[in-house]
Symmetry: C2
Amino acid sequence: MEIRERDAGGRICRLNVKGKRLTTPLFLPVYNPSKPIITPREFKEEFKLEAIMTNAYIIYRNLESRRRAISEGIHRFLGFDGIVFTDSGAYQMFRGKLDVSQEEIVRFQESIGSDVGVMLDVPSKHENRIEVYESVLATARRAKEWYTIRRGNGIAWEGAIQGGGYEDLVELSCRYMSRYPFDIYAVGVPPRLWKEYRFTEIASQGVVAVRNLPAGKPRHAFGIGHPIAIPLLIAIGYDIFDSASYALYAEDDRYMTEYGTKKLDRLEYLPCSCSVCRNLSIEELRCMDRGERVKLLAKHNLYAILREVELTKQAIHEGKLWELAAIRARSHPALLKALYSTLVRYGRYYERLDPIAKRSALLYTGCETVLRPDYRRAVRRLEARLKTSIAPRALRVMWPFGQHESPVEIFRFDDRDYDDLETVRMLADYQFGYGVGIKLFPDNCTVEKSRRTGRIRRIWLEGKLLATVRPRDGFLLLQISAAIRLAEAIPGRRYKVRLIPSSKVEERVAIGGDVLGWYILEADPLIVPGEVAVVLSSRGKVLAVGEALLSGIEMGDINKGVAVKIRDSVGGSSHA
Amino acid sequence: MEIRERDAGGRICRLNVKGKRLTTPLFLPVYNPSKPIITPREFKEEFKLEAIMTNAYIIYRNLESRRRAISEGIHRFLGFDGIVFTDSGAYQMFRGKLDVSQEEIVRFQESIGSDVGVMLDVPSKHENRIEVYESVLATARRAKEWYTIRRGNGIAWEGAIQGGGYEDLVELSCRYMSRYPFDIYAVGVPPRLWKEYRFTEIASQGVVAVRNLPAGKPRHAFGIGHPIAIPLLIAIGYDIFDSASYALYAEDDRYMTEYGTKKLDRLEYLPCSCSVCRNLSIEELRCMDRGERVKLLAKHNLYAILREVELTKQAIHEGKLWELAAIRARSHPALLKALYSTLVRYGRYYERLDPIAKRSALLYTGCETVLRPDYRRAVRRLEARLKTSIAPRALRVMWPFGQHESPVEIFRFDDRDYDDLETVRMLADYQFGYGVGIKLFPDNCTVEKSRRTGRIRRIWLEGKLLATVRPRDGFLLLQISAAIRLAEAIPGRRYKVRLIPSSKVEERVAIGGDVLGWYILEADPLIVPGEVAVVLSSRGKVLAVGEALLSGIEMGDINKGVAVKIRDSVGGSSHA
């Protein structure tokens, strides 16, 4: 799994499953072969989906379909050549009697050629703590069983996390399940929490799971598929969603919107641009026969969910995910409460994951804005590193001090004048710690400014380039000479990433090659994505400097993809 | 013009133009025949639009198209058989030299058979107060000129309101323009205000225009067509929008969303369900040749605008327009500021227009919720009519006391027990004024409760039904006997609507016929839509009682449609 873009706790990842590429955030519509509403062909052709989910148990239960799935393989059986996730049917069995063993269903998923299978977990009804605790323990036993049963034939496996609204039990479940080499972790969100609008518990369950699972594995929210919840759950760190709700809601004449679900009889207009809504009037939809209406409503609902996923991906790309989550939270007060609660209780955790600067200005959306991790971190740094709560005017080049818009004052600025050297030292103090500026930029530095804009561009020392100010967000980008000064100026492992003892890796990085995840021996856990990282050899020699793309707590967990994008190195610069 | 549904200051209206029916809120895409991007045929067939706008001046300027438009008529000329609005070209001429007289352009609009024409107003650049003032005066002179020129051949005319961001000048312009019998009033929103994100001024200009123009005429926001602004502007009271922005933005590679406009090169995903976005990838869109891309982007943009209009209409239907405006305001802080400012400065005005209860629960969206007119009015009534700021628990059946959801406490309740008679008297005091309850419901009343729910249903006096509690929102619906008691209990014209001295009208209402707008001689201006209105004959005899569908300040201005829906009358009840 490789992180391509990120914002808040959310991420756009690429992963490979049986040689096929998958991009998350991902929504998987659940297809029930015994009750088809939208066909796999339509998922592929009309909705252009790369992956769907179906239920192995339902196929297995029926002898005829079992036989066909085994002989044809699940892809031909369904008529879908993309990625097929198969659920184990734990939830179906749980409602009736348990009539299939894990061995049978694991073997079946392997034999039909599923791309991603699910272990046979033990869900809970979420009735009380004891019952939930039992499901945590029973699922852990099942995981061990799965580990002995499964064969390594390329299928990716999902492990299930139980614990529901009991945070300590979720944590326990994560600890148990992390022992086994699952490829994806799926969090069982109790339907009861969703039905009762207990978004605060759904969110905190997600946060606890995200914190306690390995960062390099995708996190799947089982059975969640409603537009209103998607941005917040992605911001928390979920990557994959699946649901049959698009169809189940349709059967109940319910129309999904990102503002909530509307019963068809309360709908007077069709506020949607999808092909269903643009080609029909509400009267036509109401009068049509039930089968046809269910199909069209299911299509609309699926369009609404997919739109929300794309919207969230675009928000990650722009660095506006907190804003989208804040907008969407206005769809229901329970969701707003969940957002407040997540930010208040777990904001500190997200300060470690949320990129240090964003592509877009920070926009005020309401009082939750001052709880945002990116905002709080900026205020905290101001206090810790510049020893003030009133921002020096010099910081106005930096995100978010200079890149925010708000109808109320969320930063106070002094009105002192700062000369150029004072300014760059201030930026360095803010970026690296109190007193670092003067050590990084001695008195004989030269500050180069843009002739056109008058803004600081570069800092030189004795003819050597030390650092550049990134125009977009005002952050200092260091050259190797400055990185060496920084490594001396700051104690211990702060801002440092140490490579594994491999001369091949060291050589590659020393000539400017990017640091891949697996190169890393240890990393400062306080590094935030987007910050400067100084790369050391295993023996502590400065080799290169660049921009961390992973958070320090993720380094070591995520092996694929670039962890530190190198800007300059002892053996020469790749990005002059 | 007839109001069909309403919420906040917004309304869904039906109007007739040359025998064709039009529903507002309405967005008119502006079609430029000399630079067609989306064709009138596509507006009709693909977008199912009932009305478009084009520019009479552009057609007139070219001799060939002038000739054709006159001989064929504008509908055949365009190939569009719906409603055609023609702009006078004031804005085009204003940018170049003024080469056409008002007489020519008015005559031309008449001769090509426009459905709705626009006078030749004098826009301003909004450079300074004097220049804006001049445009107000010059436009008023033009209105007088128009009045002498125009012929009464069925065409509807729009009068233009100037004044821009200067509220007193907008008010002055409204006063001047109201002298003439325009069918629609179009407010000239200076492009400068839009470009500079001065939404607060755009909103206050709208409020001042809405307050100072006759309520029975549609209000058109000239040149506004962006999804982010539509909900707030409709909540303020605008009915019609027109813009070429869908096409102009497309020419500039800009993609509209309800969260703002994105330049194509900052877009990585297409977060939309429209046919354009579902059938293309962002890469395909970027690589395609310019002409084709502009057309597809224009279509997407138009879909985005139309979706927002439908969404707003649905919000009016559900009584959730303030919530939608609050959500949309999160798209940009300048819009949030405009919402705050509108509610703080003009909330009192909207307390007179906003229906007394809504179909949906009041949902908290942020601190603006406690500025909402429907919330503030409830708090104010509590203080004025029940002499308390802590709501009696008995009020919990009433909207919004019992029908709201909030993550923070927006109402405090006492924990007293109220007996049934106390409860209904409390409802009556809240609804009609301090001390009315005891007069309306004497001690020998019987309170009937639902066996199933235990909730109060009806109040009887000596075997006669006095009132019913509406289950949806807890408001008292009075029978005629209670209306007579109410008329005696409250002094003066409060809650009273007096009919014109026509025995035919009086007879019709006395046997339960609804009160149409034109039946009304005078009405209590403090009546709020959804409240009880007691209908009197011109000589002051109580004839009937029902629910006001119009606000007291609108009664007299709006002649078409039902003003008071009668529930019971002296001559018998039509809704038993």
